[in-house]
């Protein structure tokens, strides 16, 4: 049974013994906290960070998730990666960086692991806001690619994480380009960009 686990040993280890989970009743004084995701979609993530204000470095963190094994394992790994990391560097972490630490995940589970870095960015932004450093806040820009069907670049990225690999599959999932078709070139460019980014 064990040898055919769909996850690597490292994923299994982090799943079985998740690091830095915020315990019940634990008095963790967070300097920044972020929450992303939605229970309706089956995953939600909270991230809490403590920051050395002189060095602008993350010294400790805690997290909680309503999520599957991949979400638990990838956030556990992320929580170990970011201790001692400068905020500016942590804010740039991508799911791919986490995946490299984790070994690998089954392809259809990769979308489960993208919440960790999003929650971390939300927590970092929250820290900047609390400390009057609004100029450092990085917001995720959303751009509408397909005007007819109102499909954003984020949705294209999501579709790629969900398994879309061709323009046709992208259309099936998002319905983009099914009216005037003018966005085809840009959508195809983004498609390969996101495949490059995540896989």
């Amino acid at each position: 049974m064990e040898q055919n686990w769909v996850y690597t040993e490292k994923v299994k280890d982090h799943f079985m013994k998740p690091r830095n989970v915020l315990k019940d009743g634990e008095d963790f004084k967070a300097d920044g906290e972020g929450s992303v995701g939605n229970i309706k979609c089956g995953d939600q993530m909270n991230m809490y960070i403590q920051v050395d204000k002189d060095k602008q470095v993350i010294v400790d963190c805690r997290w909680r998730t309503y999520g599957c094994a991949s979400a638990i394992a990838s956030t556990s790994v992320l929580s170990e990666m970011i201790k001692g990391m400068p905020l500016s560097q942590a804010a740039k972490l991508s799911p791919k960086d986490i995946m490299q630490q984790l070994g690998s995940l089954p392809e259809h589970k990769i979308h489960c692991s993208v919440l960790g870095d999003k929650a971390l960015r939300a927590a970092i932004n929250n820290y900047y806001e609390r400390n009057g450093m609004q100029e450092n806040v990085r917001t995720e820009e959303v751009k509408i690619v397909c005007q007819c069907m109102n499909v954003t670049d984020q949705e294209i990225e999501h579709a790629v994480l969900e398994g879309a690999r061709s323009y046709y599959e992208l259309q099936e999932r998002t319905k983009l380009g099914t009216v005037c078709g003018q966005c085809k070139d840009e959508a195809e460019r983004l498609l390969s960009e996101y495949i490059q980014k995540h896989f």
């Binding site: 229970i39 979609c41 089956g42 998730t65 309503y66 599957c68 094994a69 589970k109």
Partner: protein, 392 residues
């Protein structure tokens, strides 16, 4: 606590019955093509026909009314596609030139997806909802089943929550307006007594691997006198209703599996019903904030579906797997889509509870010691997942 290996996913598939294994091993010697006229062919044909007799008599049908198919999905696809067929031969399914299908929101994906595809091809399809226990809404049904409907297709027992529908009444409603009636009974045959004449169904689907038979073989009951249009063409096998050389090994396995069901089904259901009560009471006692899904009485004896608030189902499943317990979940994460179980959502529960659902399906080899083991392990697993949860 000693780790055990406990299989509680019998609605997904079942292990081969030892008698089935034995019969199939023996049947491997009979390699003949049942269509051949020589002695090798005749030997294979007679084994196939014996299996057909077994299947037929178990559900109160005639042998000639049984068509073997490659899977329950194929059998269901066959029925729906024939209804929408526009050839002259299949005309009886059309009313004033139009095909209309009435089915439910909780069917197996093979019925739902086929229906949706037919809808795209111009067929009228109505998906009837269910109540909070998974029973088809009879008032909605009676509004939908009107003259002009070609076929009504309602599953007998649901694979996820085990709820059993009143197929006899629904079949009557269909026939009253001149519609045909099909039931997907893949989860019901071999678990509850079924007589096609008593239920008065026109088509019924059953599958071998849910009842300790091999994978890749199923049967479609097709009432004598009802038109038939094959889904797979190009051969005279199965009286021209399903082309392709017979899967003799599978068919023989199915025949023995059914024979064993006739002996074991009733005492087994009684035992599993007791286990289910013990399991349900134990979970309720040991774990707070749970919801049991499905009908409390009209449901399969071996199926228990439970939602744990604040605990995501795939994580629960995999922690249980680490303890040797195999179950399934309605969580989206286990399915590869973003949506949790369509069946649970149709019963009106929240997406959170659907994501946090676990299906325990017991079978002929399930022992009370295994149920006790589950009750020992599960509270810790749920507690562990909830302690990590953002919402508990």
């Amino acid at each position: 606590m000693k780790k055990q290996k406990v299989y509680l996913d019998h609605n997904a598939t079942t292990p081969l019955h030892p008698q089935v294994k034995k019969a199939m091993q023996k049947a491997m010697e009979s390699f003949g093509n049942p269509s051949s006229l020589h002695v090798f062919g005749r030997e294979a044909a007679s084994l196939v026909e014996q299996a057909r007799e077994n299947v037929a008599s178990f559900i109160g049908a005639k042998a000639e009314e049984i068509v073997f198919a490659g899977s329950g999905s194929e059998a269901n696809n066959t029925v729906l596609n024939m209804v929408a067929c526009s050839s002259k031969h299949c005309c009886p399914f059309k009313k004033d030139g139009k095909t209309r299908i009435v089915t439910t929101q909780i069917e197996h994906p093979c019925v739902l997806e086929s229906s949706k595809c037919l809808k795209d091809r111009g067929v009228d399809v109505i998906f009837i909802g269910v109540d909070d226990q998974g029973k088809v809404k009879m008032d909605e049904l009676s509004h939908a089943i009107v003259p002009g409907v070609s076929i009504v297709s309602v599953m007998m027992a649901n694979n996820e929550i085990g709820t059993i529908q009143d197929v006899r009444t629904i079949s009557q409603m269909a026939h009253k307006v001149g519609a045909f009636f099909h039931t997907d009974a893949v989860q019901a045959v071999g678990k509850i007594p079924i007589d096609v004449k008593d239920l008065n169904v026109d088509f019924l689907t059953l599958s071998a691997h849910k009842i300790y038979g091999p994978k890749g073989i199923a049967a479609l009951y097709s009432k004598k006198g009802i038109p038939f249009c094959p889904f797979i063409r190009g051969g005279h096998q199965e009286r021209g209703r399903r082309a392709g050389t017979e899967n003799t090994l599978g068919i023989i396995g199915l025949g023995i599996a059914i024979e064993m069901r006739a002996q074991e089904m009733i005492p087994e259901a009684k035992r599993l019903r007791e286990f289910k009560n013990i399991l349900r009471d134990g979970i309720r006692q040991k774990i707070p904030d749970v919801r049991f899904n499905g009908h409390p009485e009209d449901s399969l004896a071996g199926t228990l579906n439970v939602s744990f608030r604040g605990a995501e189902g795939e994580a629960v499943l995999l922690y249980l797997d680490m303890e040797g317990i195999a179950v399934s979940t309605g969580s989206a994460c286990a399915s590869g889509s973003l949506d949790p179980s369509h069946v649970l959502l149709a019963t009106g529960i929240s997406a959170e509870l659907a994501h946090g659902s676990v299906r325990i399906s017991m079978g002929r080899e399930t022992r009370i010691s295994e149920i006790k083991y589950v009750l020992d392990v599960m509270p810790n697993v749920i507690d562990k997942v909830r302690k990590m949860s953002t919402v508990y």
